[in-house]
Amino acid sequence: MPKAELVPGTLILLVLRVLQSGPLHGYAIAQRIGQLSSDILQVEEGSLYPALQKMLLKGWVKAEWELSETKRRVRSYRLTAAGRKQLEAELANYDQVNRAIKSVLKLA
């Protein structure tokens, strides 16, 4: 199965999107993105954690310590109201860019 690099700038969008359905910890976020993309998109840990910090700083997510299924303390991230708003904005933006790219590819 070929692995694809994330398109730059989409990591935050993807993280926001997977958190929409409920709080997850860092590892689970990476896992979920991988699963949902049939393992095509692979999240680099080296960019995931700085991205999460940035989202914390912006107030899009909140971090809480919980116990995982394996009874380990994990920090899970929960989407905030500001995060939801940001997700909508990024989605709209992404759609627009996507459409634009597609039309260029079609017509060129």
Binding site: H25, G26, Y27, A30, E44, E45, G46, Y49, P50, Q53, K54, L56, L57, K58, G59, W65, R72, R73, V74, R75
Partner: protein, 829 residues
């Protein structure tokens, strides 16, 4: 805003948050299949990246740099102490000057100074700085341009107590003086309009210093009765100490007759009150003057003899930065000079930092080779400079506080400028420190991290600027000192050392012209009977006294006085041409030679009418130049008019005495008082006035000498430091040269060669700039234009002295250079 809050929260909880992040990543890593664990990357690196995101990296770096800088400074105490000395002085001297000026300004500030004006009588050819009480009342009642009119009497000499009466100074003021000049009571209350009513009990405020000195700070003094001039006065408040309040007691102006027996102040049209006014909202000084023109005309109709038809009151804002005023120019010049000192200090320190940096080149190169970015190293070096500047600024603050304390003790005024710097001072100091660090720290940091070898002109520029600034300061201070020294020996043109004047203060006690004249005649007879008194003369204004009469003509001010026929002989003037006054003379004048030359250039002044008044007096005599009105004028523009009967109540008696004039002061005072026990006569010797003036000059001399000394000291430190570093750095090379047979002279030349040009250029700039600066000073500042010109001898002396210092500073390290032992030097390294 919330983002900022989150950032701060992160900073405060940083340790915990970073630990948590590490835990979190550890968990993540454990979940990964073994093969992928290596992909995770370094947790430390990730934590650092996240720190970057929260934006606190700069703080870490700053802490790091500060720690490192502090260690570097601690490790080289000689450099650090020298730098502290240089920059501490460089910042401290301007800072002290700034704080002193700031303090003087604040001490003289009335609230809303823009609307506060001084009112003086003006008409063509007339400028009288005082108003009479009846005129004051008229303007208060009629002028619409002023919201308040404030009047102050000149300080009145009175006695305090009953048994052994002591002299005190009473200032009589309208009650609105206190609110308009923002003088609040330290205790009790201020004087109010109710205290001004003629049927009220006489009330007074006393000065805090008087209260503590004479009344032992008795807290129960409020409401008590003091005896002033033998009259009971109730104390209602205490005036706090400030610089400008010098009287002992304040009383309502309208109640002056209550303590001055026989006073005619309230009805006398020739009274002398200083008058200030608050402009009504929206009224300009010019508009106010227009109104007073019309009012003065009405006053002229009432009192044609006392008020001229073309008179008006000039309204001049009291706190106006008049760029033409000599005070402003002196302050400006002083500011420029101390700023040059700061420049010299910065350039100096720049050289030292650069020279030392060259010795640290290896360290810097190593760090850069290990991957430190240039900006990172520059930031580190600059932080070191900033630390140095901050320490120097702290030292400068301490220094300025000490100097201000000394000045305060010297002045003995008992008034303390705030020794703890206010926020303005702190902000200014911080700003200067940062600018200084930028000037002396940044160019060396850039130079040292630059990869182009031996490029850059930082050292040349620093060296040149430093030498030029120091040399300029030395030249300016030497020339000023030479001029001031000469001022000390200026001949006032008459023998002042045996002159004494008595001011009986007749007018305050209601003497009319006839009574005053007979009193003065009697006093002269009594005085003449004293063995020490040789001759006497009645004059209207005391020589070198506080009051002056002047007339402006073609841009110069001619100082005048009313004198009797005995004045020329008593004062010790020489009649050169024409004749002296005779009793009964009118409409005649005697001029000093300088006045005659100025008013009638190339003509014979005798028989001519003074040009400023077509109906004015005719010149009947010319006397030798003498500066009897002000001390220190080299070109005394004076004229004398015959004293009239009307002058008598305000007259002074000028006496020529044998022996030490100070010996007979008490006897003369008693003699004057014996004729009328109500009087509080004041007696002064001219020698005392002269000494006071000399003291002022000496103080100015001390300040300027200090400035010059600091400049030379800075220069010596900088040059010696640079030469020393150069020698230390090139020991190896020197050894090599010696081993190859170079002679001492050649070595010294080789080492000094790069310094020669900047030093020579700087020296020339300083030498020429110094003369230019003094020329500007002399042409620009009326106050010191009397200082006679350029003194070539002093100038040469300054230059030679400077060169000597430069040579000494450079040669000491050079001596060390030629003593280098080649064998050892070559082993080294």
């Amino acid at each position: 805003m919330t983002e900022l809050f989150r950032r701060l929260w992160y900073l405060l909880n940083r340790r915990r948050l970073e630990r948590e992040m590490a835990d979190e990543m550890q968990f993540h890593r454990e979940q990964l299949p073994l093969a992928r664990r290596a992909d995770f990357g370094s947790s430390l690196r990730l934590i650092e990246d996240s720190r970057d995101i929260w934006g606190w990296t700069w703080l870490d770096r700053l802490t790091q740099d500060l720690t490192y800088g502090a260690r570097v400074l601690r490790r080289s105490p000689a450099f650090t102490l020298t730098a502290l000395l240089v920059l501490g002085l460089g910042i401290g001297v301007p800072l002290t000057a700034f704080r002193q000026v700031l303090y003087d300004l604040q001490a003289n500030t009335a609230p809303d100074p823009a609307t506060l004006v001084q009112l003086t009588r003006r008409a063509p050819g007339l400028h009288i700085t005082v108003l009479s009480y009846p005129a004051l009342e008229f303007y208060i009642a009629n002028a619409r341009s002023f919201r308040e009119i404030v009047a102050l009497s000149p300080p009145h000499q009175a006695t305090f107590g009953t048994a052994a009466a002591e002299p005190v100074r009473i200032l009589f003021a309208t009650a609105n003086y206190f609110p308009e000049f923002a003088i609040g009571p330290a205790r009790g209350r201020i004087l109010t309009p109710a205290d001004e009513r003629a049927d009220s009990e006489p009330a007074a405020m006393i000065a805090e210093s008087f209260w503590q000195r004479r009344l032992a700070g008795d807290p129960a003094i409020l409401g008590q009765i003091l005896t002033l001039n033998g009259k009971p006065v109730r104390v209602v408040g205490i005036v706090p100490r400030t610089a400008r309040l010098t009287a002992d007691v304040w009383m309502p102006l309208s109640r002056q007759p209550a303590v001055v027996e026989g006073s005619t102040l309230l009805t006398d049209w020739s009274g002398a009150l200083d008058v200030y006014a608050r402009l009504a909202p929206g009224v300009s000084p010019k508009a106010a003057e227009q109104e007073t023109r019309a009012l003065s005309l009405r006053l002229h109709d009432l009192r044609p003899r006392d008020v001229r038809h073309d008179e008006y009151l000039e309204a001049r804002p009291v706190l106006q930065f008049d760029p033409n005023s000599s005070e402003f120019q002196i302050v400006l010049t002083a500011a420029v000079l101390v700023m040059i000192l700061l420049v010299a200090a910065c350039a100096n320190l720049g050289i030292l930092v650069l020279a030392r940096g060259v010795a640290r080149e290896r360290e810097i190169r190593t760090r850069m080779a290990l991957g430190a970015a240039r900006s990172r190293v520059v930031r580190q070096l600059f932080t070191e400079s900033l630390l140095l500047a901050a320490l120097s600024a702290a030292a400068a603050l301490a220094l300025s506080s000490i100097v201000l304390k000394i000045i305060q003790l010297q002045r003995d005024s008992g008034i303390a400028p705030n020794l703890f710097p206010g926020w303005i001072v702190l902000a200014a100091t911080a700003a200067v420190a940062v600018i200084a660090a930028l000037v002396f720290g940044l160019p060396p940091a850039l130079r040292l991290t630059s990869l182009t070898p031996r490029g850059g002109r930082a050292r040349t520029i620093f060296l040149g600027a430093q030498v030029a600034a120091s040399c300029l300061l030395l030249v300016v201070s030497t020339l000023l000192i030479a001029s001031l020294q000469r001022l000390r020996t200026i001949d006032p043109g008459f023998d002042y050392q045996h002159l004494v004047w008595i001011s009986p203060g007749l007018k305050a006690h209601g003497y009319n012209a006839a009574a005053a004249q007979s009193y003065m005649a009697l006093l002269r007879t009594r005085a003449a009977a004293l063995p020490a008194v040789k001759s006497s003369s009645a004059v209207w204004l005391a020589p070198w006294g506080d009051s002056h009469m002047g007339t402006g003509w073609s841009g110069r001010v001619f100082a005048g006085n009313h004198v009797d026929p005995d004045f020329v002989a008593t004062a010790g003037l020489h009649l050169l041409r024409g004749r002296n006054f005779r009793p009964g003379d009118d409409a005649v004048t005697i001029l000093t030679e300088a006045s005659a030359r100025q008013l009638f250039p190339g003509q014979d002044a005798l028989g001519k009418i003074v040009p400023w008044d077509p109906h004015g007096p005719v010149v009947i005599g010319i006397v030798s130049n003498a500066s009897t009105t002000a001390i220190g004028a080299t070109d005394p523009l004076e004229y004398y008019l015959p004293a009239s009967r009307a002058d008598a109540p305000e007259s002074f008696l000028l006496l020529r005495v044998a022996g030490n004039p100070r010996d007979g002061l008490r006897l003369l005072q008693d003699t004057a008082r014996a004729l009328d026990l109500r009087l509080q006569p004041v007696v002064h010797s001219l020698t005392d006035a002269y000494d006071r003036e000399l003291e002022k000059i000496s103080r100015a001399l001390a300040v300027i000498t200090l400035l010059g000394t600091v400049a030379v000291l800075l220069s010596a430190i900088g040059l010696a430091g640079l030469a020393g570093y150069t020698v230390a750095q090139r020991t190896h090379e020197i050894g090599l040269r010696m081993a190859l047979g170079a002679r001492a002279g050649q070595i010294v030349r080789a080492i000094l060669a790069p310094m020669t040009r900047p030093v020579a250029v700087g020296f020339l700039c300083g030498a020429i700039g110094g003369t230019a600066a003094v020329k500007i000073l002399r042409s620009g500042i009326a106050g010191i234009s009397g200082l006679t010109g350029f003194d070539p001898l002093a100038y040469l002396a300054a230059l030679v002295f400077f060169l000597t210092i430069v040579a000494l500073a450079i040669l000491a390290p050079a001596r060390r250079a030629i003593r280098v032992d080649p064998a050892k030097a070559l082993q080294h390294d």
